[in-house]
Amino acid sequence: MEALNIFIKSIFIDNMIFAFFLGMCSYLAISKTVKTSMGLGLAVTFVLVITVPVNYLIDKYLLQEGALSWISSSFANIDLSFLSFIIFIAVVAGIVQLVEMFVERYSPSLYAQLGIFLPLIAVNCAILGCSLFMQKRDYSNIGEVFSFALGSGIGWLLAIIGIAAISERLKYINIQPALKGLGIAFIITGLMAMAFQAFSGIKL
C-alpha cells in the first residue's frame, strides 16, 4: 500500500519536472515532436528503474554510516556517505553503457527507438537527482524504491509528452517573435506546473 502511494505521489505531486525541475535541459531541447519525446521518456524511465534500486543497494550496504557492519563488526563506525556523488554518477554512467550494449544486442528495434538518447541520459539530471532524492528520503525497502523510480520516470514521460503535444500545436500560432521558441516553452511549462499543483494533497 505504501509503495502504491509512493508511486502515485511521484507521478503527480513530486513530479520530476514540475516540482523539482530535474531533466529540464533535455526536456527543452528534445520536446519538439511527440514521437521523439516518447522515445526519450521511455529511455529515462527504463534507466531510472534500473539505476535507482542499484544505487539504493549500494547506499544501504556500502556507503551509509554503519553499512559495512555486514563484513565485520569492526567496520561498523565507518561512514562513506561523502563518496555517494561520485559512486552514484559512476553507477549511472556504467549502467547506461551496459544498457546500451544490451539493448543493441537483444532488441534492435528498441535500440533504433532509444539509441540516440541513451548516451545523453548519463548526464541527465533526472537520473542522478532521483538517486539523490532516494538517499535523502530514506525509503524502507527496495519495493518502495522501485515504485518511486517507476513513478518518477512515468511522471517525467507524461510531462515531456504533454509539452511536446502543445509545442506541435504552437507551430500554427502567431506568437510575438521574441517569445517564440524557448520563451513560450518556459511559460507553458509554468502553466502546466500550476495545473499539476492541483494534485497536491492526494493520498491513497
Binding site: 523539482f20 529540464m24 535541459c25 556523488f85 561520485i86 554518477i89 554512467a93 539530471c125 521574441a178 518556459f186
Partner: protein
C-alpha cells in the same frame, strides 16, 4: 604558465575580456544556450541560496576547466566523458563538504541540488566546448565568465521571488508591514514563468537571438 610561453601573451588581453563578457548576455548559458536550467530554477526561492549556488557553480566550472585543460592532451577521446565526470564529481564533493562545514543552513536548503552540479550541463558543456581545446588560463576565464553569467540570472530570479514571495531580501524585511506575500511566487511554476519573461525581454532587445521557424 605564462613564463613557459614563448610568445608572451599579455596576462589579460582583449580576447580574455571577451571571454569574460560574452556569457553575460549574447552567450548567456541559461537564457541563450539553455544549459543548467534545473538548478537555476530550484534554488531561487530565496536570494541567499541562489547566491551560494552561483558561487559554488562558478568555482566548480573554473576548477574543472583548469584541470581538464591541463589534462587535455593526455585524455583518450573515447573515455573523455568519464574522465570529465570524475573530475567534476570530485570537485563537487569538495564544495559540498565545504558548504556543510561553513554554511550548514544554506547547504540544507540546497539539498540535492549541490550534488546535481555534477550533471549541470553548463559544466560539461564548457569542458567539451572550451577546455578540451584551449590553454589553462583562457579556460579559467571562460569558466569564470560562464559561472557569472549563470549567477546573474539566478540572482535576478531569486531577487524577484524573494521580494514578492516573502517580502524580504537576504532574510531582511523590505516590504512594508501590511504587505501580503504573494504565495504564487514561491511555487515552482512561477520560477518557470519568470525565466520565460526574462528570455522574452532579452530576446526583445537582441533581435538576432530570436528563433524563426
Amino acid at each position: 604558465m605564462s613564463s613557459t610561453n614563448k610568445q608572451k601573451d599579455p596576462l589579460f588581453g582583449p580576447r580574455d575580456m571577451k571571454l569574460l563578457k560574452t556569457p553575460f548576455s549574447k552567450e548567456n548559458p541559461i537564457i541563450v544556450q539553455v544549459l543548467g536550467i534545473c538548478s537555476a530554477l530550484a534554488v531561487t526561492v530565496k536570494l541567499q541560496p541562489a547566491v551560494v549556488m552561483a558561487i559554488s557553480v562558478t568555482v566548480v566550472i573554473m576548477m574543472s576547466n583548469l584541470i581538464i585543460s591541463l589534462l587535455r592532451n593526455t585524455i583518450p577521446p573515447r573515455i573523455r566523458i568519464i574522465v570529465q565526470l570524475v573530475v567534476v564529481s570530485f570537485l563537487v564533493i569538495i564544495v559540498d563538504q565545504v558548504l556543510k562545514a561553513f554554511a550548514y543552513d544554506v547547504s540544507k536548503q540546497l539539498s540535492v541540488y549541490v550534488g546535481l552540479i555534477i550533471t549541470n550541463c553548463i559544466v560539461m558543456g564548457r569542458l567539451e566546448a572550451f577546455a578540451m581545446g584551449n590553454k589553462p588560463w583562457p579556460s579559467v576565464l571562460d569558466g569564470l565568465g560562464n559561472g557569472l553569467g549563470y549567477g546573474i540570472i539566478l540572482v535576478i530570479v531569486g531577487f524577484i521571488r524573494e521580494l514578492f514571495g516573502s517580502g524580504t531580501l537576504w532574510d531582511v524585511r523590505i516590504m512594508p508591514e501590511g504587505y501580503v506575500p504573494n504565495g504564487l511566487m514561491v511555487m515552482p511554476a512561477m520560477a518557470l514563468i519568470l525565466l520565460g519573461i526574462i528570455i522574452w525581454i532579452h530576446r526583445g532587445r537582441n533581435k538576432e537571438l530570436q528563433e524563426n521557424e
